[in-house]
């Protein structure tokens, strides 16, 4: 008869009470695990979405993140191909990088002067084939299908814009966008009208110059931005599609165009880009690669620039905010459940001690030390903990299987792609092991007070207590 066997038998004295305690623990454990699995799903879903669209790391000229958004034309990477070549020649980086692609960020005024409409915009100049490669990243096996870009590498001069911007520029009808109504057009005052006319003249002039380069697909709009010298510059872009961009700000403002066209608009120089996007094969190595990149680029005197390398948690603060919010909720729920388990187990073991006072006295009279009595009740708490925690894990696994095969879907914040709503119970081993250990520790800690009470009992009084 070892102590563990004795503890198990003691817990069967009052089966209903022990089962109720274990059940409370199982319910808490299942709730915690399913919520944790859901958070894992959000975490990996969000990360997959961000890494597919924005990559893991961005390389900028020093100061770009702080000041560059107001003057993108002043913060650029010069001779970006040299930078990319330098990166590609590094053994560690070569091995770990999946996609490396330049991008140009810009802001200005988009005008559909034929419809007498214009609006401020921000845009990105990209290489479509690289962006399509990035959309295939799926480290966590979420199997979300991201449709490829409608832009191709050969369709220079074409672009895509957000649905909201399409409405404001009166492009719904022209682009034949379903469920999209053009903005009602009112007459405008004379002063504004003059500005519009001036821009229209500039745009028409540019359109004439760029004729032959632009494709004839889609609807032509003009993008006006200032160059580094402060002079206005205009390019014509044939918008071939208006689509949802994931949130209202992007919907109302974003224009995606070819890298070359964006370079011409902002820098008038095809050697410059705003940033270089790097997508890694493995997110786990992101911080190590980030550090390595910093050293590689900033210690290379041939590059003649100082760079900053930011990871997606730094250039996309929403990710950390969302994840932190869920972690705080998880901790709060874990705390509440731990308290319930704590008090339920204390109550159960205290009742058990009270019912066994003469037995405790007899055991002490027979020669059991106080520590052995204490150990016996701690062991009973431990048995309650390990039973509840283990059953909880098994039930959580069964419910996860059922839930994951029920076909629920959702779109993570900032994403337009719907994906299956999965509970990723096994994605983070710490969740399973941590929750399992937490329940066992809480139940064992709960038994400290009753165990102490039992061990401190006066033998004579205990034996008399019948």
């Amino acid at each position: 008869m070892n102590n563990l066997k004795l503890a198990v038998r003691n817990l069967t004295r009052n089966r209903r009470r022990s089962l109720t305690t274990i059940l409370a623990m199982v319910i808490g454990m299942v709730a915690l695990l399913l919520f944790g699995g859901f958070i894992s799903s959000i975490y990996f879903g969000l990360q997959t979405g961000i890494v597919r669209s924005q990559g893991h790391l961005h390389i900028y000229q020093q100061g770009y993140l702080e000041y560059g958004s107001s003057r993108p034309s002043d913060y650029y990477i010069d001779q970006y191909k040299t930078v990319i070549d330098t990166i590609k020649q590094d053994d560690l980086l070569k091995e770990n990088i999946k996609v490396i692609t330049p991008t140009v960020s810009l802001a200005g005024i988009a005008g559909n002067y034929a419809a007498d409409s214009s609006k401020t915009f921000f845009g990105a100049g990209v290489i479509p084939s690289d962006k399509n490669k990035m959309k295939l990243w799926d480290q966590y096996g979420l199997k979300v299908v991201s449709p490829p870009m409608v832009l191709t590498d050969t369709s220079v001069g074409e672009g895509v814009l957000g649905l909201g911007l399409a409405k404001m520029l009166n492009l719904c009808k022209s682009l034949q966008v379903p469920n999209c109504t053009d903005r009602p057009v009112d007459s405008v005052d004379g002063e504004v009208d003059e500005q519009i006319l001036a821009l229209q003249a500039l745009a028409e002039d540019e359109s004439e110059q760029s004729k032959g380069n632009a494709t004839k697909n889609g609807v032509q709009i003009d993008l006006l931005a200032s160059t580094g010298s402060g002079a206005p510059n205009v390019v014509s872009v044939s918008i071939i599609k208006a689509e949802q961009m994931g949130n209202k700000i992007l919907d109302d403002n974003l224009v995606i165009l070819h890298l070359k066209q964006a370079q011409n608009l902002v820098f008038d120089n095809e050697g410059r880009v705003s940033s270089i996007i790097i997508q890694l094969k493995d997110s786990e190595k992101m911080e190590a690669i980030q550090q390595h990149l910093r050293q590689l680029l900033n210690n290379n005197i041939d590059l003649q620039q100082q760079f900053e390398v930011k990871n997606f948690t730094e250039f996309n603060s929403e990710f950390s905010q969302i994840v932190n919010m869920f972690i705080v909720i998880f901790i709060f729920i874990a705390l509440m459940i731990s308290l319930v388990v704590l008090f339920t187990t204390i109550n159960t073991l205290t009742m058990s001690v009270m019912e066994r006072i003469p037995e405790i006295g007899s055991l002490r009279a027979m020669g059991l030390r106080r520590s052995a009595i204490r150990w016996q009740f701690l062991l009973e708490g431990f048995v309650i903990g390990i039973t509840g925690a283990t059953i909880g894990i098994i039930i959580a696994i069964i419910l996860t299987f059922v839930f994951n095969n029920s076909g629920f879907g959702w779109s993570p914040p900032g994403s337009v792609e719907s994906q299956d709503l999965k509970i990723l119970l096994f994605a983070n081993p710490l969740l399973l092991i941590g929750t399992w250990l937490l329940m066992i520790i809480v139940a064992t800690v709960s038994s400290i007070l009753p165990a102490r009470h039992a061990a401190k009992m006066n033998i004579v009084n205990a034996i008399r207590n019948t």
């Binding site: 008869m1 004795l6 038998r9 003691n10 069967t12 004295r13 003469p358 037995e359 006295g361 007899s362 055991l363 002490r364 009279a365 027979m366 020669g367 059991l368 030390r369 106080r370 520590s371 033998i459 004579v460 034996i463 019948t466």
Partner: protein, 240 residues
């Protein structure tokens, strides 16, 4: 004259005072007593006379408020709580009025438990438990739990449990009080048999005049003081 080796217990001017709030109860008042080994001794006296307190002190589950107490040549007053527990584990067996068996263990396991506490090897444990259960006539009931046994059977298990570890002293606080007279007599006979077989010292507290006829020694206690120590019965028996 008895040598020190024959002395089971020596109490010199032992007192026990209980303080409950402002009320002070002197349960034992200057007890002087010497008990010899391998005897069947009874402590008798009316309710509240202090016999259970004396038994508790002799069983090392309570300590005197003053005076000296030596058991098996060991000065008990100098032992700490763990040492006292170890001393009880190795030298003392208990038989309780309410049997106090562990409800979740079978008769066999209840008897085996004190042997586990003494770290006795499994093979020897099995041998001892089987032998003692056979001696008390419970071999066929060894896998039953206490709730499935009668009062007499439970007390037999308790006797077996106390004897299994082969202690020097067994203390029994009114062991027949919860049994009918026939079963009580059977239990006393059984204990006499066991005492004879294992040469263990037995000390009882009891009200039952009938069982006293089996005693080697009767210690009468009243108002916390020893009124008499009667060894006549013992001498008569020894004479026979």
């Amino acid at each position: 004259m008895s040598s020190n080796n024959n002395k089971l217990a020596v109490l010199h001017d032992v007192t026990k005072v209980y303080q409950t709030g402002v009320v002070k109860v002197e349960a034992l008042q200057g007890i002087n007593l010497t008990l010899e080994r391998e005897k069947f001794s009874f402590i008798v006296g009316p309710s509240g006379s202090g016999k259970t307190t004396l038994l508790n002190i002799l069983g090392c589950i309570d300590v005197p408020s003053s005076g000296r107490f030596t058991l098996l040549n060991q000065e008990i007053g100098g032992l700490n709580d763990n040492q006292l527990a170890d001393f009880r584990n190795h030298h003392i067996g208990y038989i309780f009025q309410n049997f106090n068996l562990m409800a979740v263990l079978s008769a066999y396991e209840n008897v085996e438990y004190p042997l586990i506490l003494k770290n006795i090897a499994k093979k020897e444990r099995h041998q001892r438990v089987s032998e003692i259960l056979d001696s008390v006539g419970l071999s066929k009931r060894q896998h039953h739990r206490p709730a499935e046994l009668s009062g007499g059977e439970q007390q037999r298990v308790a006797i077996a449990r106390a004897l299994a570890k082969r202690p020097d002293l067994i203390l029994a606080d009114e062991p027949t009080a919860n049994l009918d007279s026939k079963t009580g007599a059977e239990i006393i006979d059984l204990m006499l048999l066991m005492q004879d077989h294992y040469k263990t010292s037995f000390i009882f507290s009891t009200h039952d005049m009938e069982v006293m006829q089996h005693a080697n020694e009767i210690i009468t206690i009243k108002d916390g003081k020893i009124e008499s120590v009667n060894t006549t019965i013992m001498k008569q028996k020894e004479g026979v």
